[in-house]
């Protein structure tokens, strides 16, 4: 097994140990990246997840070309992450409670939200409303997917409209903010959740520290945009370690049970 390095404290950790510690650094407590598949495995009951909408794919409808064509980027991202897009949605169980679940994956083009993600969120909210089960979404995204132009901006409106129906149907919606959640995702379905839970040290903002630094031409505090600062400023309900997220969601599900 290979040794991995903590991105925060740069200490070496064996892959096995890292995995058994849920990708939290045993030395500094830094919460590292978790793939959508692993997240589902560590959060939901064994074999309870059934994926929905997995036939939906992004399309390069603008023939977007920067350094590489978007279509090539999509193919590469699919190979690299073995995912269809930056979110997996489906039905699942947490401690025997049925939920509708969405889990974003930052490794797929920065977790960016394009038309496919918008549609998958619609599918999972429709399912949640139809079966009257709570909606849980794990966010990890740099924002809207620029390669889909203004259509990716419209996905913000689309997902907010979906969540609006969730709210009208009085279905609880919990959002778990993971590192990073910014831009178009934080300014749409993430921040209108009934309960906002965050992992420690997650970047949770609209504009990232680099952009803000450039704009105000001053340095920003070291905790800028973190969920801890968000908690202090009233933007987050609770910060929960990855070890306890499953239990916390289970507790909330119980409290919201009718």
């Amino acid at each position: 097994m290979n040794d991995l390095e903590c991105r925060n404290c740069k200490k070496k950790i064996s892959e096995e140990k890292f995995m058994s510690n849920l990708w939290i650094c045993p030395f500094c407590g830094y919460h590292s990246y978790v793939s959508a598949r692993d997240r589902i495995q560590i959060t939901t009951d064994d074999n309870s997840f059934v994926e929905l909408g997995n036939s939906i794919h992004s399309v390069d409808f603008l023939n977007f070309y920067d350094i590489k064509p978007y279509s090539t980027k999509l193919k590469e991202a699919k190979l690299k992450s073995s995912l269809e897009d930056a979110i997996m949605v489906g039905k699942a169980k947490i401690k025997n409670c049925n939920i509708a679940l969405g889990v974003m994956d930052f490794s797929f083009i920065g977790g960016s939200m394009g038309s496919a993600i918008g549609e998958k969120i619609k599918i999972i909210t429709d399912y949640s409303i139809e079966k009257k089960v709570p909606l849980v979404i794990f966010c990890a995204s740099g924002g809207a997917r620029m390669q889909e132009g203004a259509m990716s901006l419209m996905q913000m409106a689309k997902t907010v409209s979906c969540i609006n129906r969730i709210r009208e149907n009085k279905i609880p919606y919990f959002c778990i903010v993971t590192n990073p959640t910014s831009g178009g995702v934080s300014a749409s379905f993430a921040t209108i959740a009934d309960i906002i839970i965050s992992e420690p040290g997650a970047l949770f903002c609209f504009a990232g520290p680099r952009v803000v630094k450039q704009t105000i031409k001053k340095s920003v505090p070291s905790d800028f945009g973190t969920s801890e600062r968000g908690l202090k400023n009233g933007q987050v309900d609770i910060i929960v370690s990855r070890n306890d997220i499953r239990d916390t969601i289970a507790k909330l599900l119980k409290l919201f049970k009718r």
């Binding site: 794919h57 279509s71 901006l153 996905q155 409209s161 300014a187």
Partner: protein
């Protein structure tokens, strides 16, 4: 091949072209290959250059629109408000922490009914621009918009919005005050209200800060306005890793009214006086007034519940994707 002609090509394209050029030169110098004509390679190279020239030409055209959309003599939100509504009263504040002068809100009369008006105002000279924060909204503004929309909803006033912003302000206080949540809730409010929402994109439609005021039953866009997920400059910095890519990014992002009507993101293009709205401000204000009245008439007798559903349906059907893998 005249290399000097290629100087203006952004680095990435330049690199690509140079690579094939040097490959060809190298091959030409190889003894074994000497005397062989490289017609195929040269043709390929010429095609690449031609292709780039075409893209560059398109990009220049789009950039002209970007410049028009930002033209400081273009009529702004306050010009439209003064020219369109009677008895307009501006209302300030989010009733929580303050007021955002980049977002104007108020009540006025149009065609015999009271309407709520919300819009971004950039300001014209440098003094005004600073006062209005260059049209960049802060949470107080997006909360003010929610407040006015909810007020309009309770009293049944149709909502008219004018969108003209480079984007929400990326500042420290704005972030600390929950910029993301304020934008999201402004969008959410636009799905909650049961009155008609008519949006007019009059200049720059910059990202989430624009969308926060632009979720309408009917969205109209001035011919030379733009509407984009990110500014061309921002996109170039991220994807091209080179600010000289701004024009190429503007083209690639498809931000013009012509592109957006094709994508069904907007419902109508409002044509501008020759050369752009700045050439005849009074005229464009009159034209916009006419179209707003048309749009209001369209929704006059539509029940509130239906208006709300129409918005939800419209935005939830947006998106282009496939059900099979063919990226």
């Amino acid at each position: 091949m005249d290399l000097k002609k290629l100087e203006k090509v952004p680095k990435n394209y330049f690199k690509e072209i140079l690579e094939s050029l040097s490959k060809m030169e190298k091959l030409k110098r190889t003894p074994f290959f000497s005397g062989i004509h490289f017609t195929e390679a040269e043709r390929e190279l010429a095609q690449k250059i031609n292709n780039y020239r075409k893209i560059e030409k398109e990009a220049k055209k789009v950039w002209k629109i970007v410049e028009l959309s930002r033209n400081e003599n273009r009529p702004q939100c306050l010009d439209y408000i003064n020219g369109i509504f009677e008895d307009f009263i501006q209302l300030a504040g989010d009733r929580q922490t303050g007021d955002d002068k980049s977002i104007i809100a108020g009540l006025g009369r149009l065609a015999g009914t009271t309407v709520a008006v919300i819009g971004n105002n950039k300001g014209k000279d440098i003094k005004q621009r600073v006062e209005h924060n260059f049209g960049m909204g802060i949470p107080q503004g997006y909360r003010k918009s929610q407040r006015i929309m909810k007020l309009a909803d309770r009293f049944g006033f149709p909502i008219i919005t004018f969108v003209d912003t480079p984007g929400a302000y990326p500042g420290l206080e704005a972030e600390d005050d929950g910029q993301a949540g304020a934008i999201a809730k402004s969008i959410l409010t636009m799905f909650e209200v049961k009155v008609p929402i008519i949006s007019v994109l009059i200049g720059e439609g910059g990202s989430g800060g624009a969308l926060a005021l632009a979720v309408g039953n009917y969205v109209m866009m001035l011919k030379n306005a733009t509407y984009s997920v990110i500014s061309p400059e921002g996109c170039a910095a991220i994807l091209w890793k080179d600010p000289s890519g701004s024009k190429l990014a503007a083209r690639a992002l498809k931000i013009t009214s012509k592109d957006l009507i094709r994508l069904k993101i907007i419902d109508r293009i409002i044509h501008e006086p020759l050369g752009g709205a700045q050439n005849n401000p009074e005229r464009i204000v009159r034209i916009v007034k006419k179209y707003i009245i048309y749009a209001l008439e369209r929704y006059e007798n539509v029940p509130g519940e239906e208006l709300k559903m129409q918005r939800a349906k419209k935005y939830e059907s947006m998106g282009i994707f496939s059900y099979t893998d063919k990226a």
